[in-house]
Amino acid sequence: MADVIALSLLNAAVWACVIAMVSLGLTLIYGQLSIINIAHGAMYAIGAVSTFYVTTLLGSWAYSLVAVPLIMAIIAIVIYLTTLRFRIIGYPMATTLIISYGLMFILEQALLLIFGGAPRNIPNPLPFQVPLFGKTTYSGYRIFAAVFSLAAIGTLVAFLKKTKLGLWIRATSQDHDTASAMGISVPSVYMFTFVLGSVLAAVGGVLVAPMTSITPNMGHDILIDAFIVVIVGGFGSIPGTILAALILSLSNGLLSVYFDPVLAKGMSLGVMVGILYWRPEGILRY
């Protein structure tokens, strides 16, 4: 039993890191732009699909870590310039919600058209197993994915706290009028934040692509968890998002040892509901 618990917790921790990174993109976009980005899952799927093509064309998954963020950045800039920038400041949140919902459909159908409906796999780029106990092993790649996610989160936090652009982002989210009066180009900051959030989702797709099969609608798998994490963590709160991701994944992992995994998932969502009941604004208020 101890080995099953250890395996479940390790696996849960890995997914916590990946979900946290993807969710941070969502919370960043909301925190700075007040956009609830329903299309975030589609961006994650774009990341995974782009990874498939980059890996197939260039022969190595590693190139995806550079190429896919660039691809996603370009796509995000186009999306921002053609849709979102006209409907942010002064518009009801419902408007951006509807826009992002429509974007989700457009992006998913575009992926279906380009990639097709058949699921594809890419080879594990780090095909080594870490021995755990007995004959049970754990994927070395998954551990790498978790470490990379943590590094990305750390880099994001450092960027926001230590760089001028990070300062501008924080200032703009606090008071965009004052920020503008101080000479900050608020529209540029908004665009940069949207691109950054989208790139985080796409990087999540890059990391997950070797762990699962790639399909155009795979964004649905992670979108709900990302929203739960963002809401429970506190909209716009980076530490809250990380903490919520840990609570969701670890509770799910531990409960799945003793209960059917489907029931465990439901129970872990019950935990999240309990947290919201205790702190409706989220664990760590923004």
Binding site: V4, L7, S8, N11, W15, L112, G116, G117, A118, P119, R120, N121, P123, N124, P127, Q129, K135, T136, T137, Y138, S139, Y141, R142, V208, M211, T212, S213, T215, N217, M218, H220, D221, I222, N252, G253, S256, D260, P261, V262, A264
Partner: protein, 421 residues
């Protein structure tokens, strides 16, 4: 003439005129009805998962159904009547599928409906078929479709999960071991695969040491795989497409080196199965490769593949759809044609005649039935098809064996008799 005689004569004349008009009217309408039946197209509807998790299955079945209808229409139609095919996307969602089914029958006036592989849609469609007096042919393979959940309006052109389990059991016992662990997608078909396997295994001395069900599209199978008991010899997996890929790859990463007998290997390439590929088996309803079919079937199978655009290795022109399953759309249309022509069916009023014509009907190998001769079992409207055991082996998906329908039949009695309805 006296006044009363004149009046009587006028009344009689009026009665005669009215009577003659009525006779002419009836004759006209009867003639018009006959003329309308012989020229109006037969409208066949199709509910397929064109998008969503089952899209490769749905698009495959649709591709062959459409090709069959086009071929039949070019050759003069069904009983001399042209065929119109109207398709709706069920988007791998039963609620959507049933809504589209209603639309096809009520708005588009479809007289027959082909339902794709989605067992959730098929099971929901069964009572609707009876309610709306419309015969349906389905490719879905959940057992209960031609058992306790079925009715006389439902026909199935392809084998089902129990037939596949019977075929699987013959190999499992000899080649894989005695202890199986069942895993499946948590819906009608997934439960059917595992349930039928457990039922069949129990009769031949194999044992299901445990089972688990996960939602369709589960991202991470590690929580499920971590609970596979150590004494398990092989895993029976009721999953399809992307879930199969995830399961096989994640099992390998977890150090599980047990054979996995999957419910469907449709559109899955060997290389996508990863390092654990050679552990994968599948009991399915056709051979992927042309060479996997028996010699006496190959000519018909080749002719069919040429029409629909499948190559000898079993891939369509896009390289996305594989052959082993999708013939059910083609043969579903062939069964409709046979039923209409053998029974003299003209409209829904003749549905009972259609049913009786197909109940117990036997067909021979031909381009209409390219997977071989078969019988539509009278009691439960189940086409008795051969089952093929495929295996991923050294870079290919190979056909290891064919289990003939006749060999499956003794272990596969009809559980219902729809003729009593």
């Amino acid at each position: 003439m006296k006044t009363e005689e004149v009046k009587d004569s006028a009344i009689l004349n009026k009665i005669a005129v009215v009577f003659l008009a009525a006779v002419v009217g009836v004759l006209f309408m009867w003639g018009a009805g006959c003329a309308a039946s012989s020229k109006d197209p037969i409208v066949i509807g199709g509910v397929y998962d064109i998008t969503g998790a089952l899209s490769t299955h749905g698009r495959g079945g649709l591709m062959t159904a459409k090709a069959a209808i086009e071929r039949i229409d070019k050759a003069g139609g069904i009983a001399g009547r042209p065929v119109k095919f109207i398709v709706e996307d069920s988007a791998t969602d039963p609620a959507t599928g049933l809504r589209k089914l209603r639309k096809l029958i009520l708005k588009d006036k479809c007289e027959f409906v082909l339902i794709g592989v989605n067992s959730g849609v098929a099971v929901g469609a069964i009572p609707l078929a009876k309610e709306m007096n419309t015969i349906i042919f389905t490719e879905a393979t959940a057992r209960d479709i031609t058992a306790k959940k079925g009715n006389r309006y439902v026909f199935r052109a392809i084998g089902d999960a129990q037939m596949a389990a019977i075929a699987m059991a013959r190999f499992a016992g000899k080649e894989l071991g005695k202890n199986a662990y069942g895993m499946g997608a948590d819906y009608e078909w997934g439960h059917s695969v595992v349930g039928m396997a457990e039922d069949v295994f129990g009769k031949i001395g194999l044992k299901m040491v445990g089972k688990a069900f996960s939602p369709v599209g589960t991202l991470d199978f590690v929580p499920y795989l971590s609970k596979v008991p150590k004494q398990t010899d092989f895993i029976v997996a009721g999953y399809f497409t992307s879930d199969v890929l995830k399961l096989v790859n994640q099992a390998w990463e977890l150090g599980l080196r047990k054979p996995i007998f999957v419910g469907s290997i449709h559109s899955i390439r060997y290389k996508d199965l990863g390092p654990g590929a050679d552990l994968v088996w599948c009991g399915t309803y056709g051979s992927r490769s042309l060479s996997g079919y028996p010699q006496d079937v190959r000519a018909a199978q080749k002719a069919y593949r040429d029409v629909v655009g499948l190559n000898d290795e079993g891939w369509d022109r896009t390289g996305e759809l594989s052959a082993e399953y999708i013939w059910a759309g083609w043969e579903g249309v062939s069964w409709i044609k046979k039923g209409v022509e053998d029974s003299g069916w003209k409209s829904r009023d003749d549905n009972l005649k259609f049913m009786k014509a197909l109940e117990g009907a036997a067909v021979k190998t031909s381009i209409d039935f390219p997977t071989g001769g078969k019988t539509m079992r009278a009691e439960d409207h189940q086409a008795m098809t051969d089952i093929y055991v495929l295996k991923a082996e050294k870079g290919h998906i190979v056909t290891k064996a064919r289990v003939a329908a006749a060999d499956i039949l003794p272990s596969y009695p009809a559980l219902v008799d729809f003729r009593k309805e």
